[in-house]
């Protein structure tokens, strides 16, 4: 009988093509949006990872406890050796040093008098190392508003808004005023090589990017860094792996009480990102449920129309001796088959679209007036395991529900009218 039903589905375009197209479209939308949302949340996570947390991050225990204050006196030392050891232990992770600190920028006029001053938040990264991917990771090239990326030590980038506020031009000299990690006063002149747009008010008001060697010199932090960030080479955050690496690393320092001993944190252990990840999953589920509901209503109507259209056929079958229950059950089997066909097609299309958006993405750089370091210029989706089955929920359920409801009419049908109905 299934074979008989399948033949009917395949041959009757009205019975199959339209419902399958509708199911496939709905499922494609559900699957793709599910992947797109995963991509959006992944971007948020990436943004945090790129700028602040890495996929894993190592700080000294003391620094970690007060990291919001950026206490450079509690920075990690002997970081070259630590970095080398990390490379050997976890070759699948790229390890990078960073120093974050604050100070004052002073801008002098031709006569040497201060013409502008402002507090600055400095991010020191590895700008010149051959192995470093920091410039790409932070999207600096696209975020440049004026000038160029520093080509040698002594050159810095500053936030574009900050440069306008301080009336600084490319090639101007700026003076950093702050303290070393040991508390001594520290002064150093830098040349502004370019201005960048960070994309967040906090950074755009007063941030500076410099090479880490310049920062180490400035802060008297030889072979030191406030943090070492780890990035999986796949580029994707793997929560399970990050947790495993962190646990193993911390275990190796478990026996020491040294407050300067390094401590590793996974991404979700920082900045409440664990809650954020849970929230993103929750939001993703809610949005998918809303989509499922919306698609179910559309597909339910399709089921109703299909049931009405086949009124005569059901009459013939009743006359031939098929029971109402049998017709009802077969209409549901048919709905399952049509729903499954549409869902398979829709899932394939949705996955292809997601894959394209994951690998190629949608370049929106021309749509936004200024690319920033924080906001990616390419929108990307992310393929997730649930995409392989999520579309079957609206696809099959809605078709079945539609047929179940429309099929109830079969039970109300009076067989006594069949001769008259079938004369038409």
């Amino acid at each position: 009988m299934i074979q008989f039903i399948l033949k009917g589905i395949i041959r009757d375009k009205n019975r199959s093509l339209l419902p399958i197209i509708i199911v496939a479209l709905g499922v494609t939308l559900t699957v793709f949006l599910s992947g797109y949302l995963a991509g959006v949340f992944q971007d948020i996570i990436h943004q945090n990872a790129r700028f602040e947390t890495g996929h894993v991050k190592i700080m000294s225990r003391a620094y970690a406890e007060n990291n919001e204050q950026m206490p450079i006196d509690l920075a990690l030392l002997d970081v070259e050796e630590l970095q080398e050891s990390l490379k050997n232990s976890y070759p699948e992770v790229e390890w990078v040093k960073r120093i974050r600190f604050g100070g004052l920028l002073d801008i002098a006029d031709e006569k040497g008098n201060t013409k502008g001053q402002g507090p600055a938040s400095v991010m020191a990264i590895s700008l010149f190392s051959k192995d470093s991917h920091e410039v790409e990771r932070l999207n600096i090239e696209n975020a440049l508003v004026k000038g160029s990326i520093p080509s040698q030590n002594g050159e810095v980038l500053i936030a574009h808004d900050f440069s306008e506020k301080l009336n600084v031009e490319i090639g101007d000299e700026i003076t950093y005023v702050g303290s070393t990690m040991y508390g001594s006063m520290s002064f150093q002149n830098f040349i502004v090589s370019g201005t960048v747009h960070f994309g967040t008010a906090g950074f755009d008001r007063g941030a500076v990017v410099m090479d880490i060697v310049d920062a180490q010199t400035l802060l008297d932090m030889e072979n030191g860094a406030t943090e070492i960030l780890g990035y999986f080479e796949t580029g994707q955050y793997d929560s399970e792996k990050a947790t495993k690496i962190s646990a193993a690393f911390n275990q190796s320092y478990a026996s020491t009480d040294d407050e300067f001993a390094p401590k590793m944190f996974s991404l979700e252990q920082q900045n409440n990102l664990g809650d954020m990840l849970a929230y993103s999953n929750y939001m993703s589920q809610i949005i998918v449920i809303v989509l499922i509901f919306a698609m179910s209503v559309v597909l339910w109507n399709t089921g109703l129309l299909g049931g009405l259209r086949r009124y005569k056929e059901y009459g013939i079958r009743l006359a031939l001796g098929e029971s109402k229950g049998s017709i009802y059950r077969k209409s549901i089997v048919e709905a399952i088959l049509i729903g499954a066909m549409g869902s398979i097609l829709g899932t394939i299309l949705g996955l292809l679209a997601t894959y394209y958006m994951q690998e190629v993405g949608l370049d929106i750089s021309e749509m936004i007036t200024q690319s920033s370091m924080l906001m990616p210029s390419t929108l990307r989706a992310k393929m997730i395991p649930s995409q392989f089955y999520i579309g079957f929920i609206p696809g099959v359920c809605a078709m079945v529900l539609g047929n179940m409801l429309s099929g109830l009419g079969i039970y109300k049908r009076q067989t006594a009218n069949l001769f008259k109905e079938l004369e038409v």
């Binding site: 008989f4 019975r15 013939i316 006359a319 031939l320 098929e322 049998s326 067989t415 001769f419 079938l422």
Partner: protein
């Protein structure tokens, strides 16, 4: 011999406005196995209502209708369906073939409901198509058939399960004279060869020529129950 159909004091009423319309009034009839009978009468005389009750598509308001020893008045919906599935064949004025299926599949459908094996179905379908002379076009779609061919497929569909009784409602109404005669002759042949009881509801004189019994209904009552002698009957 026990009649294959026995109608006993059957009355059928339908609600009409605040009152009721009596479609059949205290009908008493018996049909023996192998009869080739017709119910004739003007519109509203109760032909289709009687056919409905015999076909277990409807139940009498009072009285009993015994079909194959089953009292239609007492059958559940499921039991009625089973009676139709196993013992009754229907032929309609319009052929009512399922358009997406081939001739073979349309005829096969009745057997699918009986859970017959593929081989049993194939044999029975080809036999039924042979009875109606369509064994050469099993793969044709209904849309490619002529009116006469369509009705012959409908006969094959009704006959494939070798039912004891075939109920035909105006089976020639949509056919020209040549096809109408051919169709009735086919049914007559099956009646004679297989012993199937045929019961027609008809206005058509061409059909009446072949019947061996004609029941005249008027106003829901049997006006005349006429046995046709062999010399008055067309063969």
């Amino acid at each position: 011999m026990e009649p294959i159909i026995k109608i006993e004091n059957v009355t059928k009423k339908f609600p009409e406005g605040e009152g009721e319309f009596v479609a059949l009034k205290n009908i008493n009839l018996e049909f023996q196995e192998g009869e080739f009978s017709g119910i004739v009468g003007p519109s509203g005389s109760g032909k289709t209502t009687l056919l409905n009750i015999i076909g277990s598509l409807d139940q009498p308001s009072s009285g009993n209708a015994w079909v194959m020893d089953k009292n239609v008045a007492e059958l559940s919906h499921k039991e009625s369906a089973q009676l139709r599935n196993l013992h009754l064949g229907f032929i309609f004025q319009v052929y009512n073939l399922l358009p997406v299926y081939t001739v073979f599949e349309n005829v096969e459908f009745a057997l699918l409901l009986q859970n017959k094996s593929k081989e049993e179905r194939r044999k029975a379908v080809m036999q039924a198509l042979e009875w109606v002379g369509l064994e050469n076009i099993p793969d044709k779609k209904p849309s490619k058939l002529s009116g006469g061919e369509g009705q012959r497929v409908a006969i094959a569909r009704a006959m494939v399960k070798e039912p004891k009784i075939v109920l035909a409602d105006e089976p020639t109404a949509n056919l020209d004279a040549t096809n109408a005669h051919a169709i009735i002759q086919t049914m007559k042949k099956l009646n004679e060869e297989l012993g199937t009881t045929f019961l027609f509801s008809t206005h058509d004189e061409k059909v009446m020529q072949y019947l061996n019994r004609i029941i005249h209904l008027k106003g829901g009552e049997v006006e005349k129950d006429e046995i046709i002698t062999a010399q008055n009957q067309k063969s």
